[in-house]
Symmetry: C2
């Protein structure tokens, strides 16, 4: 059977959530730009379609990109795609070998690089994937450009409270996963201050797993703007800006050498512009 | 038998050549800086040692880095290393399974990123590797920031003449290899204007193969400074500088996503600073 959109109510719910979260995040980030001063940045929207082969694959995404006065470059992408995995990938994806490789996936992905070296960069991504199994994955992690213990502590506290609302074991497990994942072996250094990372989440209760994934998004939307507003108007030095540009190089190294979504996406014909929206606006080595 | 330096006369010759080529290139690039104007850039030298494990591995390298007025960032590295490949790598390297994984390798590697967007970036690398077999590899390729047919034509003509002095089949074969290798599938674009790329060169006549490898180095040393001097004082526009910074992003993408030396080196405990000396000084996405 050729794969089709296969959307059921739960997939519609998840996809709708990613879209409404995207709307809320973009609106909040634009409010921050407006608060900051004149000529505020605004998001520009661009849609892309996934090239279908013989109607076997479809879907696409919406990229929202803003180059503003607070947000030097922030991309917020949502996507919903479906189709049939190649024979090769079927063995690598849970549940894909059992249904002829059919899949559906939707998610939101965000990376923000800030003008001020005193405001941390941030990444947030959540997604739902369905094959013959279905699960959620995602997370959020903070990358201060100049070490900032208060920001890191508040970010983690918010994620911990979020996790604790759903399962007392989540925070410890997902924080450790982030620490392990967001690490550059060739530099022997972490990408930033960490956060949480989770994948293959299928507790047997879809509603609960969806509620957790929604809460991760809401928690991000609550805590990150606080960190931005806290320091966005503080003056910084040239040395701090230089340190930021060099630190961003580590972000590039991580994304192109190790990040599974980036390397997997680029090597399997994903949308290059959407995938590489995560790269920083200006970098030094 | 534990591997040792295993240096024989031919290895000494090759290693000595890479060092003297390094000296000549650095001297020529410093002359260009002096010709250009006041406060000329100068190379800074830094040595590194390869961490040995139980005396099984050894060697190291010398990094020469200049941040000047013509050369925004240029790294010229030489290295000579020896030891024993892990069981895993033995099967991937010609002749390594047959001698218990012992190897010796020496080479020179150079990447130059220029201040002027009118002067192409360049890469040159040659090396000799010995296991139970021995061979040469390397090449040179040009990356104009703004398309420049004259530079590309002259660079290729020099390499073609070099190849033709040694074997009438080399240029066609090695140019095609470079075109295939220096390509970004996710952008569907070449890294630059190409050049030559060769590997596993063992014609059965070591002296001839060494002579060719020396000629590649001398040819580079002759042609690239001509391209630099041709345009280094020409005025450029802000738009051209922007195009240069964006084009450099493609260079980063290639090196971190695809370049075998970079990804292999970083993932197998190579010297990170030497390997990533190839990354451009300032980049925009």
């Amino acid at each position: 059977m050729a794969a089709e959109k296969l959307t059921n109510d739960r997939q519609k719910q998840a996809s709708g959530w990613f879209r409404s979260l995207r709307d809320d995040i973009c609106a909040e980030f634009e409010r921050i730009e407006t608060e900051f001063g004149p000529s505020p940045g605004r998001f520009e929207r661009k849609n892309w379609d996934r090239p279908g082969e013989n109607n076997k694959n479809g879907g696409g995404g919406e990229m929202s990109l803003m180059r503003g006065n607070v947000f030097e470059k922030v991309g917020v992408n949502i996507s919903e795609v479906w189709g049939t995995f190649s024979e090769e990938f079927r063995t690598q994806i849970p549940g894909a070998a059992e249904n002829g490789g059919q899949f559906w996936a939707a998610g939101i992905s965000l990376v923000a690089h800030m003008q001020s070296p005193l405001v941390p960069a941030v990444h947030m991504n959540t997604r739902m994937i369905a094959t013959s199994k279905r699960w959620f994955g995602g997370g959020a992690d903070l990358t201060p450009m100049i070490p900032n213990e208060q920001d890191a502590r508040d970010f983690h506290a918010a994620l911990e409270a979020c996790c604790d609302r759903h399962n007392p074991g989540y925070y410890k497990q997902y924080k450790e996963w982030a620490d392990k994942y967001f690490f550059l072996p060739h530099r022997n250094e972490p990408r930033g201050a960490g956060g949480i990372f989770y994948d293959n989440l299928d507790s047997g209760n879809w509603d609960a797993d969806f509620a957790f994934t929604q809460d991760v998004g809401r928690t991000f939307l609550d805590i990150y703007p606080k960190l931005v507003r806290r320091n966005m108007k503080s003056p910084w030095t040239e040395e701090q800006r230089e340190a930021q540009l060099v630190k961003r190089g580590r972000y590039v190294e991580f994304n192109l050498l190790y990040d599974r979504g980036t390397t997997f996406g680029l090597k399997t014909g994903g949308n290059t512009e959407a995938i590489l929206m995560s790269l920083p606006p200006t970098v030094k080595w």
